[in-house]
């Protein structure tokens, strides 16, 4: 451990070469910016695809289909699904998306019955209305409740109309939900979407059913029962937990994000190199000085710890800069990757912030270790003779 009275000395060492420190901190900041952005992306994927203990949502989709345009199920399936033991509710949903491929700017419409949104215990009870109201949404057939992320990305305001995929809607409200999928879609009236999307099956046809179960432990059993119910029908189904469904349908996104993990490691390597470089240069300049400190009674271990602390502080400063910038941009940028009508929101959280700071500090420590050990091991006389 280091006595607090030595901290001013360490800080003085850093400010002696302001330019060098500034460059190192900036370089670390850039690398940590990239690392934290990658982490935020990873976290978004995890939230969207990995099941949590309390998950109770199943998605009933047309078997062997992933693009919403190709999954067509008869709306009357909903009554049969609701009668299956273990099912708390079943909501028919029609999805229209302007492009099935993975990209950053996709508009997804979800057509849902009015009661399923606005009725007692409806989905809107779990949302926060950032602007507008559900009542406004109910007044017009072509109105939409737009997720906050989508609204921010496209600059939608209440009362504004926009069109995508040949469907024009008016924004009646902007919603905030803790469900990642809700943040990036526009909820419209089911029959309006069925008619407007025209060739997508028309009235009486939906893309999927969103099913809530009574008991999370029985999700698999309920899913199997639903698929068994429709196995022999003209439109058989595949039922999966929502997050597993997102993981499979959004496989491209998951793969892109998995690839960025390498980028994250590369960034950490860059941080290590930058801080190590700066510490090595700094230590080289102070060989004689360290020898003088040792003659004054500073033990080699203490000097080593001081050098390591320098590395940690540089790492922490750069980490704070990069992490803060990354989280700010992620928070205000409202980025999300979408595919097949499903979204992965790039998520900014306190956990990612803490992780970024902890990792940058740790890497700073590691970077300082070797120069610190070498400095601590040098002979005083040899150091005093050094040029």
């Amino acid at each position: 451990m280091l006595a607090p009275r030595l901290i001013p000395l360490i800080l003085k060492q850093l400010t002696r070469h302001r330019v060098r420190t500034a460059l190192t901190v900036a370089g670390v900041g850039v690398a940590m910016f990239l690392f934290v952005t990658v982490q935020a992306l990873q976290e978004g994927v995890t939230r969207a695809t990995e099941a949590a203990a309390g998950d109770t949502t199943l998605v009933v989709y047309r078997e062997n289909r992933f693009c919403p345009a190709t999954s067509r199920l008869p709306q009357y399936y909903v009554e049969r699904i609701e009668n299956i033991p273990g099912v708390a509710s079943a909501v028919p949903v029609k999805i229209v998306v302007n492009n099935c491929r993975a990209s950053l700017d996709v508009i997804t419409y979800r057509g849902v019955r009015g009661d399923d949104i606005a009725g007692t215990g409806g989905w809107s009870s779990k949302w926060t209305l950032v602007a507008g109201s559900v009542a406004e949404w109910q007044k017009r057939s072509d109105s939409a409740l737009v997720g906050e992320t989508l609204a921010a990305r496209r600059g939608f305001k209440v009362g504004q109309s926009f069109d995508s995929s040949g469907v024009t809607v008016v924004v009646a409200g902007i919603i905030r939900s803790d469900q990642p999928q809700d943040q990036n879609v526009a909820y419209v009236h089911l029959d309006f979407l069925q008619q407007s999307a025209g060739k997508g099956g028309g009235l009486g046809t939906v893309t999927q059913f969103t099913v809530r179960v009574n008991d999370p432990a029985k999700m698999e059993a309920v899913a199997a029962a639903i698929d068994e119910q429709f196995r022999a029908e003209a439109d058989p189904t595949t039922t999966r937990p929502e997050k597993a469904f997102v993981a499979q349908a959004g496989a491209d996104i998951v793969e892109i994000v998995r690839f960025t993990r390498w980028l994250g490691w590369g960034c950490l390597g860059a941080v290590l190199a930058l801080v190590a470089n700066a510490i090595v240069l700094s230590v080289q300049d102070r060989i004689k000085e360290h020898a003088v400190l040792q003659t004054l009674g500073f033990r080699s271990g203490l000097i080593a710890r001081m050098i390591v602390s320098e590395g940690m502080i540089i790492g922490l400063m750069g980490g704070a800069l990069g992490t803060g910038a990354a989280l700010g941009i992620v928070h205000f940028g409202h980025f999300s990757l979408s595919q097949e009508g499903l979204s992965v929101t790039v998520a900014a959280s306190w956990g990612v912030l803490a992780l970024g700071l902890a990792i940058s500090a740790s890497v700073g420590v590691v970077a300082g270790l070797v120069p610190a050990i070498r400095a601590g091991r040098r002979e005083i006389a040899a150091c005093l003779r050094a040029v």
Binding site: L23, C67, T70, R101, A102, D252, N277
Partner: protein, 398 residues
């Protein structure tokens, strides 16, 4: 102005072999990353730009202009079109009209009908006229699949999309989808286009498998309009046709325009690739600046001596730039060699299928310029700073 000899810059590099290796390695890494980003963007753009015949027109369902997989048109549309629009190319009585179904479906290799690891692949249901309309497609092995026989042919990049070896989807191998095993009877190439990442099978088979009665689109080739004879047709003729049949709810666009829009759709992804490469370059630059500062700071006395000998500051700065640029240019050359020899053409699987990294002359140019820029920008601030003390102060420096 008297300049310092070039050998001076060269020999300075040799003062610290470790630092030299670090500089070359660092700049090589940065330039390589820039090449990868540039190759990714260029490859994606090129594949989308090249896809689409010059005179090909696409008829889609209204509202589906951004995604042909969403489109549905009546199966009778191709016939109506061929009868109503003069100027469609014909050869030996066969009109260049290709009704098609485009759909992304999960497909497995070497597995049973229902199990195994599956990947989504673009399936295109076609008739034999597709070979006429899509002139870039060439059958390289085997034959065209026969309808009703569970046969298909695969593009050259399908193995990349599916994450398997080329041999796993070679002629004679089995692929599973729709709970059936299908036989690969042919392979085709369509160099530089996204079509190479597709699986083609008979239109009727795909429609039966996906239980649909409608087509996704019709692609047809126009005979270029001849002002002198009045023969042929232009895109506006097709647009006029769709206006006279509003009941069919059709929209017409050239095939190139369609893929061009798709390229725009991926614009944000390309931007992200460049931004990432740029940030890495900036990070590398900061590291390089630090290294250069250290290298030059230890020579302040020497620089003062050179000035005392009569060399102007500008000449010394020029020498320092030479020194830094030599190292970064060497790194840049190394990176370009790796990029061109190892990375060019590397298949990348992406949402639209697959395409090859295009480390072309433009990307190489950007990489080399980046290497040079790293050297110049990396040397300038430290050089100016180290030359700022007056000669007496510099000579007294430690």
């Amino acid at each position: 102005m008297r300049r310092l000899p070039f050998e001076y810059a060269v020999r300075n590099l040799g003062r610290s072999p470790a630092r030299l290796v670090l500089s070359i390695g660092g700049s090589a890494l940065v330039v390589l990353l820039i090449l990868v980003a540039g190759g990714f963007v260029a490859g994606m753009s090129r594949a989308l730009r090249a896809t689409g015949g010059e005179h090909n027109v696409l008829i889609l369902g209204a509202g589906s202009e951004e995604s042909v997989e969403r489109s549905e048109i009546e199966a009778s549309t191709p016939g109506v079109l061929a009868a109503s629009v003069p100027g469609i190319r014909t050869r030996a009585g066969v009109a260049y009209v290709s009704p098609e179904v485009h759909v992304m479906l999960p497909v497995g290799v070497g597995v049973t009908e229902t199990g195994g690891n599956r990947r989504q692949v673009m399936m295109r249901g076609v008739t034999p006229t597709a070979a006429l309309v899509h002139a870039s497609v060439t059958l390289t092995e085997g034959r065209w699949p026969t309808a009703g026989s569970d046969e298909m042919m695969v593009g050259r990049m399908v193995s990349t999309v599916m994450g398997v070896s080329a041999g796993a989807v070679a002629v004679g191998e089995k692929i599973s989808f729709d709970k059936r095993m299908w036989t690969v009877v042919g392979t085709f190439s369509a160099p530089g286009t996204v079509v190479e990442a597709e699986v083609w099978l008979p239109l009727t088979d795909l429609k039966a498998a996906t239980k649909r009665e409608t087509d996704s689109c019709v692609v047809f080739t126009l005979e270029p309009y001849d002002e002198a004879t009045g023969e042929g047709a232009e895109f506006a003729d097709i647009a006029a046709f769709t206006k006279t049949r509003p009941d069919l709810e059709l929209v017409a666009m050239t095939e190139r325009e369609y893929y061009g829009k798709l390229a725009l759709f991926f614009g944000p992804i390309k931007l992200v690739a460049w931004v990432t490469a740029g940030l890495i370059a900036i990070g590398g630059l900061f590291g390089g600046l630090n290294t250069m500062y250290a290298a030059f700071a230890s020579r302040i006395r020497e620089l003062g001596t050179l000035q005392a000998l009569g060399y102007r500051r500008a000449a010394i700065v020029w020498s320092m730039i030479q020194e830094a640029t030599l190292a970064t240019a060497a790194g840049g050359l190394l990176a370009c060699a790796v990029g061109v020899l190892l990375l060019d053409g590397l298949a990348v699987r992406f949402s639209m299928g697959a395409f090859g990294l295009a480390i072309d002359e433009r990307v190489v140019g950007i990489g080399l310029m980046s290497g040079l820029a790293l050297g110049v920008i990396g040397a300038l601030p430290p050089a100016v700073k180290c030359l700022s003390p007056t000669i007496p102060l510099a000579l007294k420096a430690v």
